[in-house]
């Protein structure tokens, strides 16, 4: 399965100057008195990959959670796929249904995988498409088996998550997200809880997905990966996007001092 199979994409194929898949305008979020996001603007075109980098606590995860409707922003607007705009500034605040509509368009891969421990690998993948989306079980199962096979887990479909390595669990997490047929894939530091020797497999898989044309927002500390896979990099610090641009340009030659310092710390930790 690739994102170009999706009807929504097919419908816009060939249209002149396609609208961006994701537009974020003035997104704000506070926890109590702690202003975590101050006016975030983002645009991601179809098939583009945006990498978010930035120090711990800068708000990267919060951005993804707002995009997936797991967190309700205090202000600003999110548009995914052109049609649905969720405006967080308006009164009354977005309903559960609005958030659900937003969530339907994206799927998230979590830092700590968050697989369902009481379900098998296959059940983890089927839960969304079959139970929630009510697609035919046989069709979804065939699709899920093909995806699991592709990521090298064809022989693990009946295993439970606790029987898998971290790298295997994260690949299941990615398949679970893909099986939802989202328009947008969100990755929150997908490799940062993995042992170093398991990181490669997961990054390679994400790179393949990028090549296939999936639209993605990836929070990562893997600069080399960002340089190679992302079409754009944004540096987030203290809840704002300090600068964004072409990965090769920004990662080698940032224009902002804060970006320069962050990259330096990442490259020379001690």
């Amino acid at each position: 399965m690739s994102p170009t199979d999706l009807p929504t994409d097919a419908a816009t194929a060939g249209a002149p100057a396609p609208a961006p898949l994701l537009t974020v305008r003035g997104l704000r979020k506070s926890f109590g008195t702690n202003q975590v996001l101050e006016s975030i603007d983002l645009t991601v075109g179809r098939g583009q990959v945006l990498a978010l980098i930035g120090p711990s606590g800068s708000g990267k995860t919060t951005i993804l959670r707002c995009l997936n409707g797991l967190e309700v922003a205090d202000g600003g607007a999110i548009t995914i796929g052109g049609e649905v705009t969720i405006d967080f500034g308006r009164v009354p605040a977005p309903s559960r249904r609005d958030l659900a509509a937003l969530r339907d368009r994206s799927a998230m891969v979590f830092q700590h995988y968050n697989l369902f421990p009481h379900k098998t690998v296959l059940e983890n993948v089927l839960e969304g498409p079959v139970v929630v989306q009510r697609r035919p079980r046989a069709e979804v199962t065939a699709e899920a088996l093909a995806l699991l096979d592709r990521v090298g887990l064809g022989d693990k479909i009946d295993a439970h998550p606790f029987e898998l390595s971290g790298g295997q669990q994260q690949r299941v997490g990615i398949v679970r997200a893909l099986a939802l047929r989202p328009q947008l894939l969100l990755f929150d530091e997908p490799t940062s809880s993995l042992d170093p020797e398991l990181v490669g497999d997961v990054l390679r898989l994400i790179k393949e997905l990028a090549v296939e044309g999936w639209t993605m927002v990836i929070v990562t500390h893997e600069l080399e990966f960002a340089r190679e896979v992302a079409t754009e990099v944004a540096f987030v610090d203290a809840g704002t996007i300090v600068e964004h641009g072409d990965p090769k340009q920004l990662l080698r030659n940032p224009t902002q001092e804060r970006t320069r310092q962050f990259l330096h710390r990442l490259l020379f930790p001690f």
Binding site: G69, A100, F162
Partner: protein, 222 residues
């Protein structure tokens, strides 16, 4: 132990076990089942964001835990008739024990629900689940596994507490023992025998608990 004591021991084993099989065990099973259903409702109320719902649950739990089971039993069986409400011994016992389990198990279930990592809720929402579906398909199955050890303890306590039902004339293990004791005047023997049978039942329950725990422990998110 001389021959006649031994004979009395053996011959009273019949009525005592009969009391366990027709009284103690079904009383415990029925009360536990009803009590668990009640506890689930109370736990969910307690976790509700609606203040009055969680308030009601909190008061219920506080009353159950703050008053003796024997007093609860007497209020229902000996107290309610003065308000014109007459309930037979068996249903009185089931009501009292269920209400009691409902209060204690609610706290166990609430703690178990809270022990499921937040990431499980998020993953459930992420795949598009509603709150209710996330609760029933993702959270409660995991909470159930976490609650097996404490709920087994609640059940074992309940089995022993059913002996209080003898005081409202329910024919169960201990009442059978009391009757034989009154008739034979062998109090020490009969009460020790009753204790022995309770102990045997609890040993069986503990080993079942052990098996359940090792089976279920693995499927829990850490």
């Amino acid at each position: 132990m001389n021959q006649s004591t031994w004979d009395l021991f053996l011959s009273s084993l019949g009525p005592i076990i009969l009391g366990a099989v027709t009284g103690t065990i079904p009383l415990a099973l029925v009360s536990f089942t009803v009590g668990l259903a009640l506890a689930l409702v109370v736990a969910l109320m307690r976790l509700s964001r609606r203040r009055w719902l969680s308030g009601v649950a909190r008061v219920y739990i506080s009353i159950v835990r703050g008053t003796p089971l024997l007093v609860q039993l007497f209020v229902i069986f000996y107290g309610l008739p003065s308000l014109g409400v007459l309930i037979d011994p068996w249903p009185s016992a089931v009501i009292a024990f269920s209400v009691n389990v409902g209060g204690y198990a609610a706290e166990v279930i609430r703690a178990a629900i809270l022990s499921v990592p937040k990431g499980q809720w998020e993953a459930a929402y992420m795949i598009g689940m509603s709150h209710r579906r996330a609760l029933t398909r993702i959270i409660l199955p995991q909470a159930a596994r976490v609650s097996v050890p404490p709920l087994s303890n609640t059940f074992i306590s309940l089995v022993k507490d059913t002996s209080l039902a003898s005081l409202i004339l329910v024919t169960e293990l201990f009442r059978q023992a009391q009757q034989v004791a009154a008739f034979s005047q062998e109090f020490m023997l009969l009460y020790l025998e009753a204790a022995l049978v309770y102990w045997a039942i609890c040993l069986v329950l503990s080993s079942v608990q052990g098996v359940l725990e090792t089976r279920l422990d693995r499927y829990v998110a850490h």
